[in-house]
Subunit: 460 residues, 2 copies
């Protein structure tokens, strides 16, 4: 029986304390209670995207428990935004500490009246993981606001540089086909992962470059992939020149280290290094959007660390697993005139500081590298076994994806896996993305592979 | 001596438990510790707007305590975003309840995997104060995101209505001179309170109508003010027609019930009723931005309640005192395709539900009406006494403002008041705005008036 080939190793006792030992399904999902609640919520707001309702009290570690008592291995983690699993004891302890109460009930306007511990908390949390060459950081409430304000910082920086140039041209941001940078109006002008996101909403005339379409496994197609990347880089330079001539010079280039919503599209470190050089050459700021890739899933805290550069970017934005939005920036990109009421939320900085402690104490980046290897190797084996269904297994750390033959099969596989206790998400036209928490270990990989194998066997 | 005319009544014992009995100043502000911390934070981010650093643990009720031990009566409340004062015992109790821990440490992706209590918490909190005619609500992380997504909802609604019309015109949002709706790029296209906000950032070609410039006191200038409002309404209709002809039809009109950042500019209920009718007549959605006016400061929970309409708006957005961002909307404005990772934060809904309980239990809207009367009457007296410095005292509830002869005098008065223990904020070119918490009582008004009088006497 194929379905037993990935033997589920027992979890060490210490891990189990805040985790479960496997999925446990009582109903198909959504169960009756979730359906009732969806109906109830439907009277209040649009529920078109609701999957099911959750019992967060009972959820633990890698397992999300729903309101019908189903316990699922969560490899999607709230769209990749739960860093160290559900109800981690360190976070429960932190939030039970009476010393932190006033941070929870008095949200300050951080830009004008920060709390006494704010510089220390920033140093302890965000600065302790600052990207190379970046000692400055601005917090924001969410990913979209982070990118919106990063774009503004680039516009202001660019205009200051050119202040002597007569006239007042409109500026633009260069983005890539397949990119996702958020859905507020500035961000949306650079988001191209799905046409439906943009329908009906006014936008800006900004240049959009092709993102390399690589062939996998990367090692086998290095020549073809290098050519494809060169083609895209050439197009980037052409667009920069063209938009300058149009009177809408490119103030900044924004790119994800791995296009996540757009289908887990990768490019090589060489590509990013060359792109960084093109940005410098043309006087454009280089903005790396790490909202989905940041926080450790790729095996490094920032995905751009895989490029091996001392000066990887001018701006790096984040949110999701960092629990607060925000962006790092070079000294020259002072966010002068970047302001709003809250400018982030210190209670999220508290949580982040503790998450980073846990990542260090539990060596979670090493764990991610280890379980990522088990995951990608398992996916390679499965795609060899089910070539009619699976292709293009790819990833870095546990930030992995695999393509399914078509969208209908993908939907069916996602639902069947869920009913067997594994929660996954899609991305792009026909990919499944893997976004476990950083506490996703080898033995979780094997639980997943066993169940995924069962699902695929039924489809064969 | 003028400085003693407003006798400070003693606070009732029960109130004092979570409040102090008056300001207490040890240094000028910012003191040395604040200056040190500002320097420290300056190595991490732009500190151009920092006033001073706060000790939120020691702050209570209407009093904000800084890191140098100064205790100030806070009539600015973190840019109007602290609803029931600092460290309200009901909120401390709520956040100490172990049953709420999992809400604090497991932030869900609300659009896909809400917690079991989400429909109930929404019903208990936001729906219990829903504007007339609006049973649907969408939460968001902050005020800018709320407005950005409200605009998108209006665009999508408008386009759906017109789906049969051939061609695909660009759409626009009509806003008003002096308006403030946020600083992300969509919002910024409708923000006109200060030119510096918009400098260097690309924008949209959307129509901007004049907001009435009324003369105060309103009762004495009713004929002039009615003429001014009629002029503005006429211009609104002209702009709607003009932009339709330009091929950029107005999908929605956005307006604040009181232009807050722009200088506390008021308009009459008649003006808003007529504007609402114009929106209906031309098929534009009507969006009332209550980010600053909402939450009770005007003596009603929503400022638009003063218009006395059953159907005041199609969309009402909020943030600040509501502790979560979001917007209410009519059924027709289904926020289909409105989505992001977090879609708000259930821990803020928890806090809001308790804030609303306190508002009801402590009859805070009645208190606001009472202390608002004391405040505006005190301002009228002071402006009669200092006609060379003060003019145009105006307000609703405690949402009041007064004009200062010039910007330099305003700055000087704000700093002197702060050094005497009263924290105020400016708005517009030369106004001071009053934005106390809802627990600001008669006796706080008198403490303020005494100190303000002292400051003015020195300027006379």
């Amino acid at each position: 029986m194929n379905s037993c080939r990935y033997v589920s190793k027992a979890a060490p006792k210490t891990q189990v304390e805040f985790d479960y030992d496997g999925p446990s399904m009582k109903t198909s999902v959504p169960g009756t209670r979730s359906q009732e609640l969806t109906k109830q919520l439907g009277d209040i707001q649009n529920v078109g995207a609701i999957n099911f309702f959750c019992n967060y009290d009972e959820s633990r570690g890698n397992y999300l428990v729903d309101v019908d008592g189903n316990r699922m291995l969560d490899i999607y983690t709230q769209i990749s935004s739960i860093p160290i699993g559900y109800n981690h004891p360190a976070l429960l302890k932190l939030m039970s500490n009476p010393n932190n109460l006033s941070t929870l009930v008095n949200r300050p306007a951080l830009g004008i009246l920060p709390p006494e511990n704010f510089p220390n908390k920033l140093t302890e949390s965000l600065l302790s993981v600052a990207p190379s060459g970046m000692g400055r950081v601005q917090t924001m409430a969410c990913g979209s606001c982070s990118n919106e304000n990063a774009y503004k910082a680039m516009f202001i920086w660019y205009r200051n540089k050119e202040r002597d140039v007569p006239g007042c041209p409109e500026l633009s941001i260069l983005s890539f086909m397949g990119a996702f940078h958020g859905r507020t109006m500035g961000c949306l002008a650079t988001t191209h992962s799905k046409a439906i996101h943009k329908l009906d909403v006014p936008s800006f005339d900004w240049p959009i470059a092709p993102f390399p379409k690589l062939q996998y496994p990367l090692e086998e197609f290095s020549r073809e992939n290098a050519q494809e990347e060169a083609r895209c880089l050439e197009e980037v330079e052409d667009l920069i020149v063209k938009w300058r001539q149009k009177g809408k010079p490119v103030a900044g280039i924004v790119i994800e280290p791995i296009q996540a919503e757009g289908g887990d599209n990768h490019a090589s470190p060489d590509f990013f290094r060359s792109l960084r050089n093109i940005a410098c050459k043309h006087g454009c700021a280089f903005h790396v959007d790490e909202v989905q890739t940041g926080g450790g899933n790729t095996g490094k805290f920032w995905a751009h660390e895989h490029w091996g550069m001392d000066d990887p970017a001018d701006i790096v934005s984040f949110s999701k697993k960092l629990l607060t939005g925000g962006y790092y920036h070079k000294d020259e990109l002072q966010p002068y005139r970047i302001f709003n009421t809250w400018m982030g939320d210190p209670s999220k900085n508290l949580l982040l500081a503790e998450v980073l402690n846990v990542i260090r104490k539990e060596n979670l980046l090493e764990e991610v590298t280890r379980s990522g290897k088990a995951l990608i190797n398992g996916l390679y084996e499965l795609q060899a076994q089910y070539p009619g269904i699976l292709s293009r297994a790819r990833g870095q750390g546990t930030f992995c994806a695999i393509d399914i033959c078509d969208d209908a099969t993908r939907s069916s596989i996602l639902l069947k896996a869920r009913d067997k206790g594994v929660l996954l998400g899609g991305c792009g036209d026909r990919s499944i993305r893997f976004r476990p928490a950083l506490v996703f270990k080898d033995y979780h990989v094997h639980i997943f592979l066993n169940i995924f194998n069962e699902v695929l066997a039924q489809h064969k």
